[in-house]
Assembly symmetry: D2
Homo-oligomer: 358 residues x 4
């Protein structure tokens, strides 16, 4: 595809959709041509702000016949799959909100359709476009942190309660996608614990422990029921420690030059003493850029250049597989559940890109 304007339709104008619309409206290479939502009030609200949008419809299928290049899907989670399937089948590139689907089987089907059609399938794991997360990943991979010991992630607030998915499906995609991205490896297994405080049968408070290769433990706390809005990831390495606090406006990352080493005494057999190290704290300057804008730009770039986006369908499916394992662990009273192997993709055409990766 050349660098012509990318014509975009947005399905879902509720809570998150307008943020996507605002960003695509402000990207010169894209034009938001059409929107769809079941509620007329949402359509009117968006049209009122962006009169340049040409089509506003209650039926997303109307968007399939407008000559669009791509759709952005920000609808209720259980509708991601059928809408994305229809759009891909109609030849449109698709950016789907997280979680990409509510089953890895469905995600795999989307991947297969996109491959067959030669289309971009991308999932809205916004944090992988967050400059602070890039700094975090950079510090891990440069070796500045030393060996990664463990990671603790907390995502809590008095949140928006949902009735169709629990807090794990709602919040874990963020932290799982961050963990996979910054570590560059896949978790081996997961244990989870949860409680349903407000609605029977819908967990609103959950904890999960993930085992990553190299003996790295990662723990996630997720809660819709917390008085203080918290979005914090602590990465502890053998040389330095980092706190990434996404609630902070300016000082999102703090790098602590501190740690401890166990040193075997030479004079006695098997005994240790501990050498503590305390140094400066550095708060690196991070350019303030809206991660969602970077995500939208990445989608457009992938469409224009035919490149695989960072958060492609496979990435979306992988996160769903891990959440499925977490759900299974809940059923098994917290027992560790091994995370499934990625399905092998047997494309009829033969020439397709395989989703199996290192």
């Amino acid at each position: 595809m050349n660098n012509n304007i990318v014509k975009i339709g947005v399905v879902g104008c509720g809570y998150w959709g307008p943020n996507l619309i605002r960003n695509f409206v402000e990207i010169p290479e894209t034009e938001v041509v059409a929107i769809a939502d079941l509620l007329q009030t949402q359509l009117d609200h968006v049209k009122g702000r962006y009169p340049q949008i040409q089509v506003a419809t209650k039926d997303y299928r109307d968007l399939l016949e407008l000559g669009l290049d791509a759709v952005v899907i920000a609808t209720p989670h259980h509708t991601h799959f059928p809408i994305a399937r229809d759009c891909l089948n109609a030849g449109l590139h698709a950016l789907v909100e997280k979680p990409i689907t509510l089953s890895s089987h469905d995600a795999f089907e989307l991947i297969q359709i996109a491959e067959r059609q030669g289309l971009i399938l991308m999932v809205g794991h916004t944090f992988e476009f967050n400059p602070a997360v890039h700094v975090l990943k950079g510090m891990i991979h440069s070796g500045e942190l030393g060996e990664v010991y463990y990671i603790d992630a907390v995502r809590a607030s008095l949140g928006l309660f949902q009735t169709e998915i629990n807090v794990i499906w709602d919040l874990a995609p963020h932290d799982i996608s961050i963990l996979r991205y910054i570590l560059g490896t896949e978790p081996l297994n997961i244990c989870s614990h949860a409680s349903s405080c407000v609605q029977e049968g819908i967990e609103d408070v959950a904890y999960a422990t993930l085992q990553f290769p190299n003996n790295i433990l990662a723990h996630m706390r997720m809660s819709w029921l917390d008085p203080a809005k918290t979005r914090r990831i602590t990465v502890v390495g053998s040389r330095k420690m980092i706190i990434y606090d996404d609630v902070e406006n300016l000082e999102k990352i703090r790098v602590y030059d501190k740690g401890v080493k166990a040193i075997r005494r030479t004079d006695t057999f098997g005994e240790f003493h501990f050498a503590y190290h305390y140094g400066d704290v550095v708060i690196p300057f991070i350019r303030s850029e809206e991660p969602l804008r970077l995500e939208c730009l990445s989608f457009v770039e992938s469409i224009q250049d035919g490149t695989t986006p960072r958060t492609d369908g496979y990435n979306g499916m992988r996160v769903v597989q891990i959440i499925e394992a977490a759900q299974e662990s809940l059923m098994l009273a917290g027992q560790a559940v091994t995370i499934k192997e990625t399905p092998t993709m047997e494309l009829e055409e033969g020439g397709g890109r395989s989703v199996i990766r290192a």
Copy 2:
């Protein structure tokens, strides 16, 4: 016993002992008569500051023959049991640092000896004497918080690494004793996960989930490897939410008048909407009193009045039992372990107080 001066010996003058000595020196009803420690430098250091202490010895057994009333034991954990046993057998009341012993069997033996001898056995669960914890307990029990939904406890810092016990044995006694105290119930089971980052075989990072009656979930995060010193307990109720942050000097407790209710719609079957409530935050004034001083005063009062201290041997044993279950869960890859029934105490004398409680 009448209100005569209580003569005290302190065994262990390392990290924590001097704090106990300072407090007992300043209580008019007590006199620190003797101290014991294996290291002469520690003895000299304490003697230099408190020249009025009459006996300083490397052998704690010397303290058994000085006509003391009570001993305070702040030695390495594995020595708590033999030292406490000897002191109780010698007719001395005992205040033992936490954890009271490294096995519930040993704790039970201490309880039995104390019962037989008619002596006070107390464990140093200092937080049960913390005015902020009292405020927390009061708000739960008055109903101000509504139904308790769940509790999240974090205790982390770049801590003092230990070689004989792991982070659970080191830090969990604090939060377990707080949880039992503020809820007034016993946990049913526990799951735990941990990692040994710095020393092989000694966990320095751990997570545990406790199930309490009335469907109350409690989660503990414990870490010797964290850049930010954190001692925070979040109690979420159906009406209000509390954060107790013990690192704060003045504003330890914040009461958030906020929450959410799921309301069943009357017009549709089975659907909910959510009513959010946002109100003021109140930071109650809490009188600044050193919890350790209140603990020491309580020990003296129990000795003088023959009353059972709040943190008696049973309390100490209960906490050890819970940690034992946590350890067992670690061995079982995080499986839930039911917490043992309290052993029934069959005292030969018959007339003894039973340790079996509601």
Copy 3:
């Protein structure tokens, strides 16, 4: 005027203008018909976002002939006066950004024109529409704070340097308008001190002390050169103390129930002791509303109902008079300068509303 749509033109589309445009676009009772700016890029930027704006011109005088009802002026400060004068003379209501003019003489002329024409003249003292400031005023006037002792205001950051006005003209309008509003009185005199660090002759760091009636001292710190963005007002009363921190997102106001009283001893002549009182801190819940939107709504309401806005031309002139006194104090090496009496308005028509107030 009836409740017809108010047709609005906005002059100045630079830093602040777009915020005003956004708000007026979203108010159903108003329509932004035209915009003016010297720079085509600014016009294009705004038009791109709001294609419904009909006229975009480089000459604000074009706006005088479009049948508008009102103009909003957010241009460089020295142009406020001539533009507002022309607009009022053309029969348009005017909302002028702060400071309303760069001399009280000019402000008075605007007031007189508006009076003669029966038009609304309003100044953009946004903080008088800030819900947190309303809470502050309410607590002072209800007596909850007791007698007001003093007020300390800080407004500092690494700010937007200006070349035509100094930091006092830039920042003092905010705090002076807040002080007048919450106290409900006029300052008697002002002393000021300043330094020109970055540009010769343009003060970028300044301090001012205002004396209000009832012996109330108010102090303002203003700085374009501060590493930490600070917008804090401390109001100390005889019963309670308040900190209003506008940088905080949620917890803007903290009410401290603490204080001290000097108590004359009855047994000795003339001696005092001090009774300290320490109580709870309360952080009142404040509904999150954009102050600028409330300001814009107030402008529209005044136009529709013919009522005097809270921040009318007189209010704007008063603030300018106080800044003029501060400037004079700078020339006099910090000597106290009495703040001018408000000029008496002698309207020829006789029937006009007098600007002289209690």
Copy 4:
């Protein structure tokens, strides 16, 4: 003098005296031999804690005949002068709490006596021994901050009200001594403003502006009436900016690599644009040492080595002179008062060290 034990007497065992006693007790090179206080309860309290103190008396004159080497004076301010004079005349070195005296004339007399007698006279300006202040001074003098633009100092809390001195005499010694120390120059003049809120005639809230050489403005806010304990100094330089917050436990200093430069446009005459620079924030690790201990050690070292202490009598007198100028400015409604030249010391003996310095 050789390195024999320095025998010390402490006069004044009220609020601050016990801190001095604790430090001297713990310094191996000193022995606290005697204490004096008008109140028996204070004497008893200190003796109870330090039974090794040999003499406890209500009359400080008893200390003059005990063969002491030095006295430490922590009595009510108006008694500093007569007590210090008597002690120096009796041949004892003296460490006097701040302010050294309540008039510069008296301070000068003490300096003269000490010179004549060849004794150490030191004032307790503790902050000049504070490691964080040393870091601050180092960053200014190394040029890391660039040219110092201005300094803002705040020292406020709900403080200990005094009846004999106002808030300037109480709090300004801290910040004035810090300012002189870190800048290494003397202020030229001072303006001050204050209010007496709680006690008639005793100012409890005050502001002062000091002009230092090189066009450096320094501003001090002092308050006994503030809800939040604040001890913060902001130093703004042309290259970097520093906040020193002494209330923080660990992160006392933050160095902000940010600033702005006015750059003259080459294409237009006389116009500027501004180049903003935003970089990292660094929180340097500062070893935790009690400043008072370092002060006490310095006193001992000066006695042993015959060296002039950093905070000698001249330093104490200089601070008093500046406060006297601030007081005079209060009388003159805030007018700038030039700070007096240091008196020339004409010692009869001729060989004395002159107090006149660069």
